[in-house]
């Protein structure tokens, strides 16, 4: 049978349409199977089971009570032996403040009320439900605990800093220098060591641990305890409807940082 070019093209076209239409790859794209491993789309509901510890921060209260944020930071950094290298490039931060417009970059707009502009917001590790740092860590040095805390085992950290690149909140710091060393004037980077908690070594990443060592003995996180009298921070189990965070989240309008990324932060802000 002789085929001319026109017939051949018709046949090829039909075959291509049929092939694409029935291909499993195309269908799996449609049903969303081919999404990046483990990455849930923002807005999809999460299972409400087990404990999921969370924190609510009222930024107005911190604005009213000047110095409270600094006190929270000081108590956190002193009990966890967080070094102060005296230089922003090497800075180690578990708990720190950031301007409103930088904290909620992409969650706000430039016509926002001027009263919020430049307002310091207390920031820490968000202990995400879908933590990108945990996926990035090649040694499982950082992991998600049953209670929702994103914790670290510094023994396993090889200092690759993938987690720092993965974290969209800048909540992780790298020890470029020995935290228990001294500066050029002989002053130690950690003023006073807390003998109840270890320090870290040079070359590991560190971050807020939601005071998991305090929670284990029935205490609140140190920053929340410091802010208790001002009702500026709340802590509890998100899956327990009677917990304080659940009550506050029901009553107040709250936002999280970069909700569109689908990380499901456990730190909520009352604006």
């Amino acid at each position: 049978m002789k085929k001319d070019r026109r017939d051949f093209l018709k046949l090829a076209g039909c075959a291509a349409v049929a092939g694409v239409g029935s291909s499993t790859a195309f269908r799996s794209l449609l049903s969303g199977e081919a999404e990046a491993a483990g990455l849930k789309r923002a807005g999809t509901s999460k299972a409400m089971e087990g404990t999921r510890l969370a924190m609510v921060i009222d930024i107005k209260k911190f604005h009213q009570h000047r110095g409270l944020a600094e006190r929270c930071i000081r108590v956190c950094h002193s009990i966890h032996n967080v070094p102060d290298f005296g230089n922003p490039k090497d800075e180690i931060k578990w708990l720190w403040t950031e301007n409103f417009e930088n904290t909620f970059i992409k969650d706000t707009h430039r016509h926002q009320t001027q009263s919020l502009h430049g307002m310091p917001v207390l920031t820490l590790c968000n202990h995400c439900d879908n933590p990108p740092c945990v996926r990035a860590c090649p040694t499982k040095a950082t992991f998600k605990k049953d209670d929702g805390v994103v914790a670290m085992d510094y023994h396993r950290c090889i200092g690759c800093r993938f987690c720092m690149a993965a974290c969209p909140y800048g909540a992780r710091s790298f020890n470029w220098r020995d935290p228990r060393g001294t500066d050029e004037h002989g002053n130690p980077f950690i003023d006073e060591l807390n003998p109840e908690y270890p320090a870290r070594g040079i070359g590991v990443v560190e971050k807020c641990n939601f005071c998991t060592e305090r929670l284990a003995v029935g205490q609140l996180p140190a920053c929340v305890e410091e802010a208790t009298d001002y009702e500026a921070m709340f802590f509890g189990d998100l899956n327990d409807p009677d917990s304080e965070v659940s009550r506050v989240l029901r009553e107040e309008f709250t936002i999280v940082r970069r909700a569109s990324l689908g990380t499901y932060p456990s730190v909520f802000y009352i604006i």
Binding site: N81, F143, K145, D146, D147, A151, D153, Y154, H155, L193, P195, E196, Y197, P198, A199, R200, G201, A216, V217
Partner: protein, 127 residues
């Protein structure tokens, strides 16, 4: 043989120097390290033989259990003594004399664990 006068004495000196540690220490038994044990307690979290051989395994088990699996932070010995499952807060609360306990064996066996790169040694006040 060419150069016998120099080679033979040189060989004797060489062999003598190489075997120096053997004949210098010959007949003397190597002294095992002497540990200073805590006086307050007469039992550890496990028996002495297990602790001598496998204390590092136990420490790793504690670490993984407490850190990753939210395991209990304290334990109880067979005789009912409660202890913290922690190097810094548990072990060192009794064995605070690190120089005469940990370091003795570690120096003797030439192992260099890096525990103290992060964990804090008991302070002078504790001793």
């Amino acid at each position: 043989m060419y150069g016998t006068g120099r080679i033979i004495p040189a060989l004797i000196i060489f062999v003598g120097l190489m075997t120096f540690p053997i004949w210098y220490n010959g007949g003397k038994a190597q002294q095992p390290p002497e540990l200073v044990l805590p006086t307050e307690y007469d039992e550890c979290v496990r028996d002495t033989q297990f602790m001598r051989e496998s204390h590092m395994v136990l420490l790793h088990e504690w670490r993984d259990d407490v850190l990753r699996k939210s395991g209990p932070r304290s334990g109880v010995t067979d005789r009912g003594l409660e202890y913290e499952r922690s190097l810094q807060k548990g072990c060192m609360s009794c064995h605070y004399d690190k120089q005469n306990f940990c370091d003795q064996c570690h120096d003797y066996t030439a192992v260099v664990p890096d525990c103290w790169a992060c964990h804090l040694e008991p302070t002078k006040e504790a001793i």
